[in-house]
Amino acid sequence: MKHDVVLDVTELPAHGLGTASLSWWGTLAFMLIEGTGFVLSIVIYLYLMSVAPRWPLDTAPPDLLAGTTLTVVLLVSLIPNVFVTRWARSQDLRKVRMGLIVMSLVGVLPLILRVFEFPAMHIKWDQNAYGSIVWVMLGLHTTHILTDLGETVVLTSLMFTRHGDNARRFGDVADNAMYWNFVVLTWLPMYVCLYWVPRL
């Protein structure tokens, strides 16, 4: 078959950045999946509340201290995260390394606070449906912190190898930072739901 060359792509970059990157879109799609999961967990919470005679069921509303501190920590963590994103975009290896170390440490803090959040609920998962949903919501979100922390730690060590200085790695760092934003932002409605809805 005869072909006409109508497009020469020699000059195009060998790797797409931002919205021209496949992994950026992939991350977005997975955020959509997990976001749907978070929304559904909130819907289940509200549904169970609507069928219950009183709420929270047979216990006091959760203590605010641990959860609120964690919320503040997560919000503050957005600041270094913004810097990491910026440094990744400008492909500044030294600063990205530093930023990732900070983010790895920052990722551990909420896990420590989370340990205090479970008892602050004043209920166990197997006591009643209220206990079940609050534990599952906390568990679901903890899983996300854990996986993102794991990814951050692996990326951090990767950035210190010979594979670090590579446009793809910087893209991965930016996507990972975007995912952390997602983990923080999805926590906010869950925080309101878990801590303030029972006080309505």
């Binding site: 195009l12 496949l22 999946i33 289940i44 197997d126 079940s132």
Partner: protein, 637 residues
Amino acid sequence: MRAVADREGVRDTGMEAVELDRRLAATWSTPPGLWGALSTVDHKIIGRRYIVTAFVFLALGGVLALLMRLQLAQPEARFVGPDRYNQIFTMHGSNMMFLFAVPVMQAMAIYLVPLMVGTRNIAFPRLNAFSYWMYLAGGLLLWIAFAVDTGPDVGWFAYVPLSGPQYAAGKRADIWAQMITFTEVSALAIAVEIVVTVFKQRAPGMSLDRIPLFVWSMLVTSFLVILAMPAIMIASTSLILDRLVGTHFFNPAEGGDVLLWQHLFWFFGHPEVYIIFLPAVGMVSSIVATFTQRPVFGYLAMVMALIATGVLAFGLWVHHMFVAGLPRLGESFFTASSMAIAVPAGLQIFCWLATIWAGRPIFKTPFLFVIGFIVVFVIGGLTGVMVASVPFDTQVHDTYFVVAHFHYVLVGGAVFPLLGAVYYWFPKLTGRMMSETLGRWSFGLIFSGFNLTFFPMHILGLQGMPRRIYTYQPEMPWSGLNMFISLSGIVLAAGFLLFFIDAIRSARSGPVAPANPWGASTLEWATSSPPPSYNFARLPVIERLEPLSDRSDPLGIVEGLYTDRRELLITGVVEARAQARESSVGSSIWPLLAALATSAMLIWSIFTPWAVVWGSIPIAVALIGWFWPKGDPEDET
């Protein structure tokens, strides 16, 4: 002109065709042997594997259906006891929905979408490989459990409390719930791949209004998967938690609620129907366009209908719960929304009729299946309108009327187009043609066998025969029709047997197919049958909706890609302007290892919650191995 070699490698600019094919094959081919088979990331190999596996599950599910018909042919028959019968119908439903219908549609997309949009591999090829292994593991889990008498026996919908800790002792319900996790992980993975492939890997110039209708349908389907499947994952996880660690989501005694399960299940379960049906719609459009020798009438209307169906699909779930005792006013709303979905469905039927009207039909086997589809699916759509009516539904819900209805929708609406699609794309899948004679025979047997089997079920339902009964008493007036149905089932089975014989025979020794045996006009026919490992020696540039429709005007092509590493083209979402060359990853064993680790954790977690903790360690190791750079040229540049 000589090929251009620079510091980084050899580009295809000006390269001779033979030289180009040789170089690309060396770069893209899956190595031979077992290791190559286990580590391949070629979307065509994985797609074919997926399709074959799904059809094996179809055959197994069909055998289960025959067993049920054997038992129901006579009143109070004793071929199959209630315990085994409950496993059989649960297996039949779960297998057909989760292991056949959804995967086979996604599998067709894995194979076809990259070809139809003119790229060299699917987005995230390793995720694609992982997805297949997860699917296979989930299917094996379910069937092995069934073989050792631990098959789920709580219905494919697993209503609580029957599937809960109190009434479903043993591991049967857990097997069901965990099989869900396997298949949903694989389905979600494919959905992400398809969305990103369609968004970012379309051939330059394939703007939104030049996307083939099959690709549109798979795009909408993938969004349905992404938004619907989390509901069933959350539901099945909650069920496992209720069963394993004593949570109370569905226990009314402790503040849980039985109907919560039904809401979650059907919030997934209804879109599931469209996840199966919409790809079929895309297949029908492809076949209609080719065999009427003109573009499908009303392209924009068809796309809008697909999107409208996808949106409405999320507003219908309550019509599966019309007799559960929800407030009447809410139910009336869902009657209206359920009926409203008939509008986009009708619109599509009308558009196809208009296409046939204005075209010049060629009566080949794929087109026969499309005609069969229209005849059968319109009945299924109309009975769908019937069950959308709350009062009508109170008489037919959970009866054989509904069994008839959804087989008309799913077999008529999805399997008929799928079989047509297999006949249609078989040359592209295997490089060989299927037999037209056997195709006509199998269509005739399947079409008549199907109608003879399922139409009488409408009557049985109205005569008061409920679903999911393993037997009925001789004094009920149902035995005549049931015997008739069982005998008709043999005709239907014979049709499928003929189809399988034809497919296997043709794959081995059918006539060799040219690149475009049907004179079709979409991109997958622009490359050889079957396509080479790199799909297109030179990536096409698209200037119209049907790029192959005008033979005097050859395809434009792209130049300047490297030949010695896997490279493809990234384009913009709307206009599909080229944005970047991008590496596509090569073969890797890690997706298989990750799938094995994940499977081990999921199956182990049926027995103890600690499996989630300890089982996560191998998964983490596998994932690090998967993503850790290996210094290959695809990563280094």
